[in-house]
Point group: C2
Chain length 392, copies 2
Amino acid sequence: MREAGKRTRGRGTTARPGRPRQAEVARLAGVSQTTVSLVLGKKTGGAAISEETRQKVVGAAESLGYVPDPAARRLAAARNNLLGVFSFTATFPTDVQHSYYPFLVGVEQEAAAQGYDLVLFTGSSPGGTGGGTHALHRARLADGCLILGRHAPTAELCRLVAEGFPVVHLGRRDEPEGPAWVGADYVSASRGVVERLVALGHRRIVLVREDDEAPASTDREQGVREGLEEAGLPVGPEAVFRSADPARELTSDRVREWVADGVTAFVAEETDTSAAWRALNAALAEAGLNCPGDVSLALLGSPPPDAADGPTPAGFDIPRAQLGAAAVRLLAALVAGEQASEPLVACTFRPGDTLAPPRRTSPQPPDPLPGPRVPGRGRNRNTRTEQGEPTQ
Amino acid sequence: MREAGKRTRGRGTTARPGRPRQAEVARLAGVSQTTVSLVLGKKTGGAAISEETRQKVVGAAESLGYVPDPAARRLAAARNNLLGVFSFTATFPTDVQHSYYPFLVGVEQEAAAQGYDLVLFTGSSPGGTGGGTHALHRARLADGCLILGRHAPTAELCRLVAEGFPVVHLGRRDEPEGPAWVGADYVSASRGVVERLVALGHRRIVLVREDDEAPASTDREQGVREGLEEAGLPVGPEAVFRSADPARELTSDRVREWVADGVTAFVAEETDTSAAWRALNAALAEAGLNCPGDVSLALLGSPPPDAADGPTPAGFDIPRAQLGAAAVRLLAALVAGEQASEPLVACTFRPGDTLAPPRRTSPQPPDPLPGPRVPGRGRNRNTRTEQGEPTQ
DNA sequence: TTGTATGCGTTATCAT
DNA sequence: ATGATAACGCATACAA
């Protein structure tokens, strides 16, 4: 049935006119298609190919303007060199501030380096093929998949993971059976900040944070606690001020009280809103305390863009590009069947200009580093924030 | 030869564990693979499929998490719902200023709306499968492809186009056989700016531009000329100051001369460097002329970000997101085999605060509007910029 | 060293 | 209304 060449070409909707195939190159070069594949694929594969045939093939290919068909290549190779990127808010929101752009910088670079292209799954927006909660199904189109937003449908996600599909989440996750992830090492970074303060001579340091259970928050607190503990400083409740509404509850009176009580440095967590940081600055200003002089300040994260003109707060920056790159590396490793290693990426310390040694007028005894001194009403230091080391 | 199932799986380097295929869906549903393809492909193809089998198939596919393999689909000459994005500088450069981000905003939105996912081909960076000048080859994995940078290898590009592969370039192109494109309507926008100036009473207007042959430059000039002509104002060489090095050649003396000669308004083109605009401002400042008072100023484009604190220059903004969206719409149309329509996207006028009526002290006769002023838009006789409508 | 045969997953044609 | 079967273009185990 079917005469030769009956409908050999132009079957599909996208008729591809004269694209030369390996077979034609082969004919022109007087060799077999296999040889063409071998030569053009550069796969010396242990064996060699006579320089003569190689030349013939290359010449023929060139004169025909042969280019390999990626679809065919990928179909045959059983991989498509595609890494999916899933963001459960728009990947490119109109407000650049909240975008994943900084991560994408690293993602793209590393993907290119690893030889992958990126598939941007156009979010959970309607109109997409999958649509809605089933959006994740399209992920299988790629060799593996990167999750960006925090609002991925957990069930779907875990299903993918359970089925062995390589998935990496950008940002920490706590599910035991959840996807692999990479995240910033907030604990170490925060501890490092406290260490600097201690090194400068500060002995009473207060962390100001919002009332949030996000890992990003609890990690920072743990880091601060570790730093304090390490220096033998009190880690009791008086070391942390936690408020759901810092703007109102963090008053100038409260600040004055702290300072009178011997506090010489404040550390604020950084969040979407920077509420803690803003409130702290406002309260200090209202209390008439200025920053490097009267008290030292540090911000556990990058300053909000609208504060670009003030003094640069000391603290740390999240290496977003590196995080993106790390995520891609991890994903590539998973795709290749290798095992993943360290999911944490170190933050970089930002000296800023809000740090100084404490005023000597404070009521602190000038003793160096006191031992594990547990102050009067100190509850025990319960550093166990219990989120455990990442298992990935 | 070859026993059945001898090496059916795991041939490739990256064995993808359980990526379900249509055959497995078929087995689970108790039908043939063909039926699965029919059902999942929604191709009613003349025949119908019993609702019962359809349900079985859909159910099986869903429970298996089946997703069609894009490569296979492509190879079989079908569509992917994948749109390629090719940027010939990094898609996400570290310097956000120069990025395609604003375009991508629209691209993503419109792609989602049209039901496409995006494939970001990781630039011309080495390490990519194709690498170097052959980077464009990978495009064929998608149904069509968007070109972002200005440095795409023209030959390859035209080849794709010649072979009937849907390609849309973001930004004007002049090749007759080149890809379809969408671009900002600089001509109309520039003409509009001149019209405003004229409406304010300006009769002597000078365009300051760099020495560049890019369409973006010549279009602006043409728009200005059209605006002048329309108002019956002189469009001779004295209306355009063109310089390869405005910073040096656009002196304060030159500016004073113009003003003495009756010039009351300047229009500067906007480029990468904003050289014309900067030079103009510098010269005016040095000449002691201030802006809305002594002369009116307009900028044919968006002001450079580092000028954010000065007065907002009047002029127009390029609706980048809309451009991106328009590009996707066009590409989708091409993929669907439809014909393309209007490649130009209108810019939005920016009033700014650098415009005012001319000083009455100038030697202009206060006569109203001389000449054939056509107030309406008469949108073209136009744009005879000769790049013709895209032939796609 | 080169050629032969076969499969990758899908769509499309033609039989049933 | 379904099921075989043949491509699509390339890569590879295996034979020569």
